[in-house]
């Protein structure tokens, strides 16, 4: 997928020149449209998340212990029935676990930092899930040639208290999947993104209380939106921070309606982070909505980025995706090299910036000034040049194999991991 994305983005250069010349729409008209300061909600689904209760524990389950009862995690998984618990003790497990046929399974480590799945730089995914409602908890995955924890094509998923580091592509990853939660987890040293929720509309998903650092991108969400919330998390020292984006290489573009709320996003201009696909194009940006629509960026603290704190830019693929109908409200943005708030040209209107605490903006109208243009071509130029630098092989990058290890002493293990019963993935599915 990264290579396809890279190929597609190659067209960015050709179309980008046109983008620079076309500064479309106007923020003034957007403010007229959303006179009450409210944006978003223009798509098929709202970006926000309806309240859900805590997942309920299973009552009738069996516990399969590794290594006491089984030599490998895979053997325990193969022996398990739905709603069972595979409980893994401390150790380094050199295997790749597939969960393809057992729904409602829980795989849990007894100690987060001591139960380690090791890919040895040759196995693909630490845990690969295609069955519904599978929960993975309290584990560490490292050195896989694709992903740490990967759910695809499922309804119902949860990853809690996970650590993924120095895997080649993604850390904690849900693709074409709905009704999920990533929480209390950590990801670092990935060449695409630490956390990824892609190709879902509506997603019915929450990413919360996670920490993502030293990745190409902290959070990436291609064509993902609708009841999708990214909140209460820390995104720092990546090349780019939070990047919902639209691409034709995945189904259902454009990206539409995610809510990004109450996150700490800082210093996402790490030139030493690993990158093979997309990261440097977003270098130096905190929250970067690339061709997305109807998103809500609310109440975040965003600081110390080389380029832009919060930026909305067009995305070029087989189609041109202009940012539209996004709401940026109540954020505290500071320390940006070029501008705290930014809107690239061309944009499709309806993008509203209100009640933000910021020092600078491009165009100036985003922060109370006046402007002739709705979007600023300079903003698009910056990110276009960075993409060209990436595409011509001149972008700085680190090596995912040797990226810094996580701060294990700061990563909390799941309370009662050895004793509490397994719980369902999510609750309140409709």
């Amino acid at each position: 997928m990264p290579y396809r994305r890279r190929d597609v983005l190659r067209s960015f250069g050709a179309v980008g020149a046109g983008s620079l010349a076309a500064a479309a729409g106007g923020v003034a008209s957007a403010q007229e449209q959303y006179g009450d300061g409210e944006g978003g909600g223009g798509g098929d689904y709202p970006p926000g998340q309806p309240p859900r209760g805590d997942p309920r524990p299973y009552e009738d389950y069996a516990t399969h212990r590794v290594p006491e009862d089984y030599d490998t995690i895979q053997a325990a998984v193969d022996a398990a029935e739905p709603e069972d618990l595979v409980l893994v003790g401390p150790g380094v497990y050199e295997e790749a676990v597939d969960v393809r046929e057992t729904p409602r399974l829980t795989i849990r480590g007894t100690e987060r930092n001591e139960v380690i799945l090791d890919g040895g730089f040759e196995r693909e995914d630490a845990v690969f899930v295609t069955a519904d409602d599978v929960v993975v908890e309290n584990l560490t995955a490292r050195h896989y040639t694709r992903n740490g924890f990967f759910w695809t094509g499922v309804s119902g998923y949860r990853g809690s208290y996970l650590t993924a580091y120095n895997n080649r592509l993604y850390g904690v990853y849900a693709f074409d999947s709905v009704h999920g939660t990533f929480e209390q987890s950590y990801a670092s040293g990935h060449t695409d993104s630490g956390f990824y929720v892609g190709q879902c509309a509506p997603c019915h998903a929450v990413v919360r209380n996670v920490r993502s650092e030293n990745n190409a991108i902290g959070y990436s969400g291609t064509n993902a939106g609708g009841y999708l919330t990214i909140r209460d998390s820390v995104w720092r020292h990546n090349m780019g921070g939070i990047v919902p984006n639209s691409l034709d290489t995945e189904a259902d573009p454009p990206q539409d309606a995610a809510r990004i709320e109450n996150n700490l996003v800082e210093s996402n201009d790490n030139a030493d982070a690993p990158d093979v696909a997309f990261g440097y194009a977003a270098f130096g940006t905190g929250i970067n909505v690339a061709g997305g629509r109807n998103n809500e960026v609310v109440g975040n603290t965003v600081r110390d980025h080389a380029n832009f704190g919060i930026v909305l830019v067009p995305m070029i693929d087989q189609n041109l995706y202009r940012p539209k109908g996004n709401l940026v409200r109540g954020n505290t943005v500071s320390g940006s090299g070029r501008a705290d708030l930014a809107l690239g040209a061309p944009q499709a209107g309806g993008n509203v910036f209100v009640d933000n605490d910021a020092d600078s903006a491009r165009p100036a109208s985003l922060n109370g000034g006046s402007s002739l243009l709705g979007g600023d071509p300079w903003v698009t130029l910056v990110l276009l040049e960075q993409f060209l630098q990436l595409d011509t092989g001149g972008a700085p990058r680190g090596d995912w194999r040797s990226a810094p290890e996580p701060p294990f002493d700061e990563l909390e293990s799941m309370p009662g991991a050895a004793s509490v019963p397994p719980r369902e993935a999510v609750r309140g599915r409709s």
Binding site: A17, A271, G337, A339, L381, A395
Partner: protein, 175 residues
């Protein structure tokens, strides 16, 4: 074409100083007002001549556009307003100082070309001051492409200005 002011004639900038030298009062400094006028004429030779309303309008229009462009260019450094003012006043001065309407328009296009050519420089400068190790981000193929693209773009108004200033190129080559 400007209507020459007192003592300026067609000499353009500096003509006023010559007039003062002719009567000797500028060098002797016998009159304070004349000395001020001499200084002003050297610093702001605009007072040596004026332009008709059409040419003045062209100057104002160019100054506004170039000021906006200059402000846009330096917005990354938080000096958008200052950039606009310096750009507008500076280019306004430069253009109004030209002796003829043709020279005014040519200088306007030259100024536009200079600002367009400055885009990649300012772009890179914005990165230089914002990252820890600028050389990791600069001097790549993309940077070269950026410079080439904008300098090619800048060559368009530069050639337009040259054409306006010099007349048809082919005719001059045939001479």
């Amino acid at each position: 074409m400007g209507a020459g002011g007192p003592g300026a004639g067609e000499a353009g900038p500096g003509g006023g100083e010559g007039a003062l030298e002719g009567d000797g009062r500028g060098e002797e400094g016998s009159g304070g007002g004349e000395r001020v006028r001499g200084f002003a004429d050297r610093v702001l030779p605009l007072f040596d001549h004026t332009h008709d309303s059409g040419t003045t309008a062209i100057v104002v229009a160019f100054a506004a556009v170039l000021g906006l462009l200059a402000g846009w260019l330096v917005a990354d450094f938080g000096v958008r307003t200052l950039g606009f003012l310096v750009g507008a006043v500076g280019t306004g001065y430069l253009l109004y100082d030209q002796p003829t309407r043709r020279a005014v328009v040519a200088a306007g296009f030259y100024s536009l070309a200079a600002l367009v050519a400055a885009v990649p420089v300012v772009y890179e400068l914005g990165l230089v001051v914002a990252v820890d190790d600028p050389l990791r981000h600069l001097l790549g193929v993309a940077d070269l492409l950026l410079f080439v693209a904008f300098w090619l773009l800048a060559s368009v108004p530069a050639l337009v200005g040259y054409r306006i200033e010099s007349g048809p190129l082919l005719r001059r080559l045939r001479r």
